[in-house]
């Protein structure tokens, strides 16, 4: 386990001591806790007499952020979990768009069906957009079905670097699906606006 560079300021008990020039602020951050047991615990003490509280809080926040980043960035398991979470967050951004995307695709198909005045070139290009939209829907679902989580990857004896590479690739794929989805939807919405059609309602009983 690599201890962060910040530890060079520390003592043998794993505490980081930072002291401001004016000997006003005194902070201890226990990095050994983090390095050994993945527990994020900071022990902070201060001596503040003449220093403005605002400056003190700003300084504290900065030091804590730096210390936290330094203490955690080298833990491979944390890196994997963080990347997997990023991936899931990305998925949770794209997936809710699928409903509206599908409705837009259906409206575009209605344009193709009901607008009899479309010239053949426009018809062909809009047909292609509708087809591509169907493919984007497929690719989203296929992506989710082939996705493997860290537990599965570890079960396949994948190394940390391989897991990170896999998750990064999946994240790039998800981002690509998300951007394609947005592009397609924009084109489709424009076509729907350009070619308004009257769709007959369901037959009356």
């Amino acid at each position: 386990m690599h201890l962060p560079a910040l530890m060079s300021l520390g003592d043998t008990n794993g505490f980081v001591h930072l002291r401001s020039e004016a000997s006003i602020v005194w902070i201890q951050v226990n990095c050994l806790e983090i390095a050994n047991g993945r527990q994020y615990r900071f022990h902070l003490t201060k001596e503040s007499k003449n220093f403005s509280m605002k400056i003190y809080h700003l300084f504290m926040a900065l030091v804590m952020l730096t210390a936290f980043a330094a203490c955690t960035s080298n833990d491979p398991e944390q890196q994997e979990l963080a990347l997997q979470q990023d991936l899931m967050d990305e998925h949770d951004v794209v997936m809710p768009k699928m409903g509206e995307f599908n409705q837009t695709k259906q409206k575009l198909i209605q344009v193709l069906y009901f607008d009899t005045k479309l010239d053949s070139l426009t018809r062909d290009s809009l047909s292609m957009v509708a087809g591509n939209m169907g493919e984007v829907e497929e690719s989203m679902m296929t992506w989710m079905n082939q996705l493997q989580n860290i537990k599965l990857l570890k079960g396949q004896k994948k190394k940390h670097e391989e897991i990170m590479e896999y998750l990064n690739k999946q994240k790039a794929k998800m981002e690509k699906i998300g951007s394609t989805l947005e592009d397609m939807e924009k084109i489709a919405k424009q076509a729907i606006a350009d070619h308004p059609v009257k769709v007959p309602g369901p037959p009356q009983k």
Partner: protein, 211 residues
């Protein structure tokens, strides 16, 4: 004197709250959605006709729920985030109303390509639930999305805590035997589902004798 005022105020609050709760639980659940007036009568939106296939290859349509209330949701088996939490809450509903024939559960997959009938069956088996109580249905993807639109459209706009993205919102929808939407719940939130259970009981009470 001060203690007396405090005592009576406290008692008044308790009685008022109890009355309020009692009145609410006895009142019928409201019908949700924008109404229309047709021939002088108020008409509420209804769930249109549908036709899907469940994990046992049975056709599931409106007739399947004749005389019954049901809870609908939208999911897909490979869903890594929201769906497992919603399924857990649907299981709570399944357990609670297992022996009440008046309520059925209906889960629509939005991944119609991969969630095949055998896969849905496997999913149901894994959850140890029976088809007569909980239908997992598939069909044409566009039809399922259209149904999702119909189920979610009566949702009050001021309640749009999850803007758009209804198909991945984890919402549960309670539908009565007349095809009216009567309640929604965030299926990822156990507390919201606790309240939803109370809503279901209110609807069942309104429907009459337990079968």
């Amino acid at each position: 004197m001060k203690t007396g005022i405090f005592y009576w105020s406290f008692l008044l609050i308790v009685i008022t709250t109890a009355c309020q709760l009692s009145t609410n639980s006895n009142q019928p659940l409201p019908i949700l959605g924008e109404t229309e007036v047709v021939d002088g009568k108020t008409v509420y939106p209804t769930i249109p006709d549908f036709r899907f296939v469940d994990q046992d290859s049975n056709v599931v349509n409106n007739a399947t729920f004749a005389g019954k209330a049901y809870v609908a949701d939208f999911f897909f088996i490979s869903c890594p985030t929201i769906c497992p939490r919603v399924t857990k809450q649907m299981l709570r509903l399944y357990q609670k109303f297992k022996n009440d024939d008046r309520l059925v559960l209906l889960s629509h997959t939005v991944d119609t390509k991969h969630d095949t009938i055998p896969r849905l069956k496997e999913h149901a088996n894994r959850l140890e639930v029976t088809t007569d109580k909980w239908h997992f249905v598939t069909g044409n993807r566009d039809s399922i999305y259209n149904m999702a639109n119909n189920y979610f459209s009566p949702r009050p706009s001021e309640d749009a805590s999850i803007p758009g993205g209804y198909n991945h919102s984890g919402l549960l929808i309670l539908v009565d035997p007349e095809r009216h939407v009567r309640a929604f719940a965030d299926g990822t939130d156990p507390k919201a589902v606790d309240q939803f259970m109370i809503d279901i009981e209110r609807l069942l009470k309104e429907m009459g004798t337990k079968k």
